[in-house]
Symmetry: C2
Subunit: 77 residues, 2 copies
């Protein structure tokens, strides 16, 4: 089965990449854009049909590799 | 209001970064991981309360800046 994971910076952590995108958009006549924050997205295909087991595994992957829990949060969809 | 955008590589486009993550996970005893594909995620805060207008604007941003439509797809959540 396939699981989706979104990793985002925690609130309060500076996001210079998102800021750069926001300023670029403002300069392209999208003046209504107030803030952009960028994150990462992962599509993970995992060899099991047990949804709970798959979610547990993916959560472990997030903690060990995909997210830096000091500055990032993750969400499994 | 806040909109979320996911930008992913189209099917068939090679994703060496996702492949590297998959191999790393396999080497960390997550042998059940069959494929990983990485994408980008954006949280966009936009100065309007009209949801349709906001979506139209964000779609325009995706086409002009956030996604490379030759190799990427976008989804507005």
């Amino acid at each position: 089965m396939k699981l989706k994971v979104i990793v985002t910076l925690k609130n309060g952590v500076l996001d210079p990449q998102g800021k750069a995108i926001q300023q670029t958009l403002n300069g392209m006549n999208f003046s209504e854009v107030k803030e952009v924050r960028q994150g990462k997205y992962f599509d993970i295909e995992i060899n099991t049909n047990d949804e709970n087991k798959a979610k547990d595994k993916v959560e472990e992957m997030c903690k060990k590799l995909l997210a830096n829990l000091v500055i990032e949060d993750y969400k499994i969809l």
